[in-house]
């Protein structure tokens, strides 16, 4: 959020899943790193949604439409125009009180063959396991236990969230923050992955 133009690791994984030339709904557009990248490099047409008015200025240079509002409110969805090939939730679902409702809602905004692409942090990351094993579950200003996170996911529960909402997960990518974790992740993928990135399409 503070570094608007730097692509985060999970963003890079998301970008590989975005269809070139797609109509993209970027939920939680923030500093616009992802939106401006897919506009510039992939020729996508981006609709940017964010809760915070200060991000309008970041969205202005690239976004086709800017919508200010909370994605948990009906009124926000009503102001979103058109349908999309990809709806992107880059580190957003964990901030929602009811992520299922948002995923259900997405179905009405996807074209046939469209998909949701999301990244979520892994609460079963080895550091969090280690901390809780010794009694600590301390919210922090950023990271997996970011104080604004309301929902926590493991590899299994993020998949089941999508399955329960009527999606089929077609791609599932584990994001490792460094080479050491990547190596350890070969043996224990769900303990050393920092985040998961998935693409999912509504079941027919």
């Amino acid at each position: 959020m503070d570094q608007p133009l730097k692509l985060r690791m999970a963003h890079r994984a998301i970008i590989t899943l975005v269809k070139p030339g797609a109509a993209v709904l970027d939920v939680g557009s923030g500093g616009g790193a992802l939106g401006s990248h897919v506009t510039r490099e992939l020729g996508c047409a981006v609709t940017a949604v964010d809760l915070h008015p200060q991000f309008e200025a970041y969205a202005a240079p690239y976004a086709k439409q800017w919508v200010l509002g909370n994605i948990e409110d009906d009124s926000t969805w009503r102001r979103i125009e058109g349908k999309f090939d990809n709806i992107v939730f880059a580190d957003v679902l964990e901030h929602l009180a009811d992520p299922s409702a948002a995923l259900e809602r997405c179905k009405g905004y996807l074209v046939d063959g469209g998909s949701v692409i999301a990244s979520v942090p892994n609460v079963a990351y080895y550091r969090v396991r280690q901390h809780l094993l010794f009694g600590r579950f301390d919210y922090a200003p950023f990271g997996i236990l970011d104080v604004t996170h309301l929902r926590f996911f493991t590899a299994r529960t993020i998949r089941s969230l999508f399955a329960e909402c009527g999606y089929e997960v077609t791609d599932f990518v584990r994001v490792f923050t460094n080479a050491k974790n990547g190596l350890l992740g070969r043996a224990f993928p769900n303990a050393f992955a920092y985040e998961f990135v998935l693409r999912a399409t509504p079941c027919r």
């Binding site: 009180a97 969090v128 396991r129 809780l132 094993l133 009694g135 579950f137 309301l150 493991t154």
Partner: protein, 208 residues
């Protein structure tokens, strides 16, 4: 909206009730179907103002409360319709359901009497079973219990105390709640792995 219907009072509820002075003016936040409300009114003869988000549950609890307010405690307008002062504000298994429990506790200060207190119970995320589950990679929400799927916030002994300290309160009582017989001193020395919940009594810090 999920219905939290309990036939009997939990040990945490009993611990809260034990700290409510008989006849007190009580604000009960998140009364659900009113099992605590009933004990406050009938057993302790308290004057209860109850707040509940869900209309259906509020209607069930209504007979036990002197006043019933249907609304979201996360919104200022709900607080505007709550008229204190209260001797006790009870949050029985409620704070963990709020997006911003810090804000709710800060707002609560305004409706407490000068010598009023907050009485709250919160589940312990560092309960041994949750520790072991996460150690093997599981963090599965369930219908009820510590990982109730309606819980948005999780607390340990340390962060539950910090929740009150950061919201302008001093914790006067901190009671671990056990599901079976347990030596609290040993559990405390271990960092409360066996406490299922914590019951907290806290008073506002009026002049920092």
């Amino acid at each position: 909206m999920k219905v939290y219907k309990q036939e009997s009072l939990s040990p945490a509820h009993e611990a809260i009730l034990a700290m409510v002075p008989p006849g007190a003016r009580v604000l009960e936040v998140g009364c659900a179907t009113g099992h605590v409300t009933r004990a406050l009114s009938d057993r302790l003869r308290c004057e209860v103002t109850a707040v509940e988000l869900d209309l259906e549950q509020a209607e069930v609890a209504q007979p036990y409360a002197r006043a019933m307010i249907v609304g979201d405690i996360g919104r200022q307008q709900t607080w505007d319709s709550i008229h204190g002062p209260f001797d006790c504000a009870v949050f029985a298994d409620v704070l963990e359901h709020l997006v911003d429990p810090w804000e709710a506790l800060r707002r609560c200060r305004a409706v407490l009497a000068g010598d009023g207190c907050v009485l709250a119970s919160v589940p312990n995320i560092a309960y041994y079973r949750i520790r072991l589950e996460l150690a093997r990679g599981r963090f599965d929400y369930t219908d009820y219990g510590i990982l109730d799927d309606a819980h948005l916030r999780f607390f340990t002994a340390k962060t539950a105390r910090a929740l009150f300290a950061d919201s302008g309160y001093t914790v006067t009582d901190f009671i671990p709640i056990y599901r079976r017989r347990m030596a609290a001193r040993i559990d405390r020395a271990l960092g409360y792995p066996f406490a299922y919940q914590f019951v907290i009594r806290a008073v506002p810090v009026w002049n920092p």
